[in-house]
């Protein structure tokens, strides 16, 4: 059974259907690219998968469970986390605190235990510090741990967002245009990072990206959407020669 199974998913915003009857299947361990022209509805798909919007029709099954009526924070607990097209870090918090926030669900101490510094608080905070540092180290962000995240350079902010998404120990990671606004060096570094995530965490990844070099070189399978509908699926080489896809990008029907 596939890890994620999306069946005929549609959303309707007062007559406009940014996504309609979308089918999508992702097997465990896959790295899939979701591509399409601007305004095709890619980010809306992410918003639907993470519960930011609720689908009006269709179903989303994750790990054998229906998740299409769950709230965002519940979906995260089931194991889907994401990053954002326009970076959404907690700007005025330190780098390490950004990651610590994402570990929140794994801590159990109560407010009173926190205020009184009772043993469980101390134990869990010590564990948290260690885990957060470990995660930052993987992304080479450990030396910035106590800087405000807004002061990080752009590429590192992207990395931190990915690290934060991984802190929730997801089974499926959604990356929304991680290479947007990056120079070629940063994009290369990002490709290394994505590879690293797959190796280290054995992660299933769904990726939205406009940088075709990146998509073609790292994704095993691509799904192309336009006007909220899937117009093609296949391996990068199949997609490269697909008439419909070329048409969609060049503006022909």
């Amino acid at each position: 059974m596939a890890l994620l199974e999306v069946h005929k998913m549609s959303v309707n915003f007062g007559g406009i259907k940014p996504v309609s009857e979308l089918d999508l299947q992702i097997e465990e361990g896959e790295l899939i690219g979701l591509i399409g022209p601007n305004g095709a509805g890619k980010t809306t798909v992410f918003n639907l998968l993470t519960g930011v919007y609720t689908p009006t029709e269709g179903s989303i099954t994750f790990n054998g469970e229906r998740i299409d009526r769950l709230k965002t924070h519940q979906i995260v607990k089931k194991g889907i986390t994401r990053t954002f097209q326009n970076i959404r870090l907690f700007k005025q918090m330190t780098v390490i605190d950004n990651v610590k926030v994402a570990f929140n669900n794994r801590l159990k101490y109560s407010p009173l235990e926190g205020i009184l510094h009772l043993p469980r608080y101390k134990k869990e905070e010590a564990w948290l510090e260690e885990e957060a540092m470990k995660l930052l180290k993987i992304f080479e962000l450990d030396k910035y741990a106590y800087e405000l995240s807004m002061n990080l350079p752009y590429g590192k902010q992207r990395k931190l967002e990915i690290a934060r998404a991984l802190a929730g120990s997801p089974k499926l990671l959604l990356l929304d245009e991680p290479a947007a606004g990056m120079n070629p060096n940063e994009t290369n570094e990002l490709m290394q990072t994505i590879k690293l995530i797959r190796d280290q965490f054995n992660m299933t990844i769904l990726l939205i990206e406009h940088d075709m070099n990146l998509v073609m070189s790292i994704c095993e399978r691509l799904v192309v959407i336009d006007y909220g509908m899937v117009i093609a699926r296949g391996t990068p080489s199949e997609i490269q020669n697909n008439e419909k896809v070329i048409g969609a990008y060049l503006g022909q029907a």
Binding site: T43, N47, V52, F84
Partner: protein, 300 residues
């Protein structure tokens, strides 16, 4: 007593006080539309307007229409001045800072007029014309003047906003100030004009309010100001027809609770303000952007 007549009478009274709330609410809404500032000093501008007219009538013996015009013009200038001195430096600051400044301006005006004129209320010269009887209904001349004048001013404002170049510039600035500036619209000028028009409408609202209750005092603007603000929110803040609708609605609800419900429930007038706030809360919970407002989704 015939309850039907009583209800009709209270609706009329509500239209009267509501027309005044609507005039004041327009000032809140225009300013909020462009600078996103809850201008807490607006209720006090209304008080200033009433005091200026009061001086013109009692000290200079001017006729009421002239006094109204002078008061509107002076309040327009005062409103623009306050914006320049107190709000403009904070335009790029966090919005809560500007809110505190507006409260500061409000305190300032209230204290200044208390020092100048004393804290006690003074009788306001009003029109001593006999009310018109239509059946069992009583319609005072002031009521007719208030409603007529405010409806006239609202239509004029609507035409100004819709038809003139300046009005269009104001609408553009309230949609998106940055884009408007790029299109060559002077945002400073539109903000000044919004304050000027809002304050002038506030002044006439204050005069009509003073004539309705025939008295004035330095704190007279606080409650009507707050209620007019609620009216603006109720109708959908930033939307001119919303402010008018909210104003009339609020006036009618208030006078029905005070004058009609009290016939069945003696304590109704004590709870009148609580009922207003409850309605405001319910409306906001059902339609978070007000009756005529549109919900804007945050783009993710």
């Amino acid at each position: 007593m015939d309850y039907g007549i009583l209800l009709m009478q209270q609706i009329l009274n509500g239209l009267h006080i509501g027309s005044i709330y609507a005039l004041i609410a327009l000032g809140y809404t225009m300013v909020y539309g462009i600078v996103k500032l809850i201008n807490f000093a607006h209720g006090d501008i209304m008080m200033v307007g009433a005091y200026i007219a009061f001086m013109m009538i009692t000290a200079f013996n001017l006729p009421l229409p002239i006094a109204i015009i002078i008061s509107m013009a002076s309040c327009a200038l005062i409103g623009m001045g306050i914006e320049k001195v107190a709000y403009k430096p904070l335009r790029n600051a966090p919005r809560m800072w500007a809110l505190i400044t507006a409260i500061g301006v409000s305190f300032f005006l209230e204290t200044l007029f208390t020092i100048l004129f004393g804290a006690s209320s003074k009788p306001f010269p009003t029109l001593s014309l006999a009310p018109i009887q239509i059946g069992a209904l009583q319609i005072s001349q002031i009521m007719m003047i208030s409603i007529g004048l405010s409806v006239f001013l609202m239509i004029a404002l609507e035409l100004f906003i819709k038809e003139t170049k300046l009005g269009k510039a104001m609408r553009a600035a309230s949609e998106d100030a940055k884009a408007a500036a790029l299109m060559g619209i002077s945002v400073n000028k539109t903000i000044s004009i919004a304050f000027a028009i809002g304050s002038a409408l506030g002044a006439i609202g204050g005069i009509l309010f003073a004539m309705a209750y025939p008295q004035i005092k330095p704190l007279m603007g606080v409650m009507p100001g707050l209620k007019a603000f609620i009216a603006a929110v109720l109708g959908g803040i930033g939307i001119l027809p919303g402010a008018m609708l909210g104003g009339f609605l609020l006036g009618i609800i208030e006078s029905i609770t005070k004058g009609f419900l009290s016939a069945f429930w003696p304590d109704a007038s004590l709870w009148a303000d609580a009922i207003l706030f409850l309605i405001l809360i319910l409306v906001l919970l059902l339609k978070p952007a007000g009756i005529l407002g549109k919900n804007v989704r945050e783009k993710v």
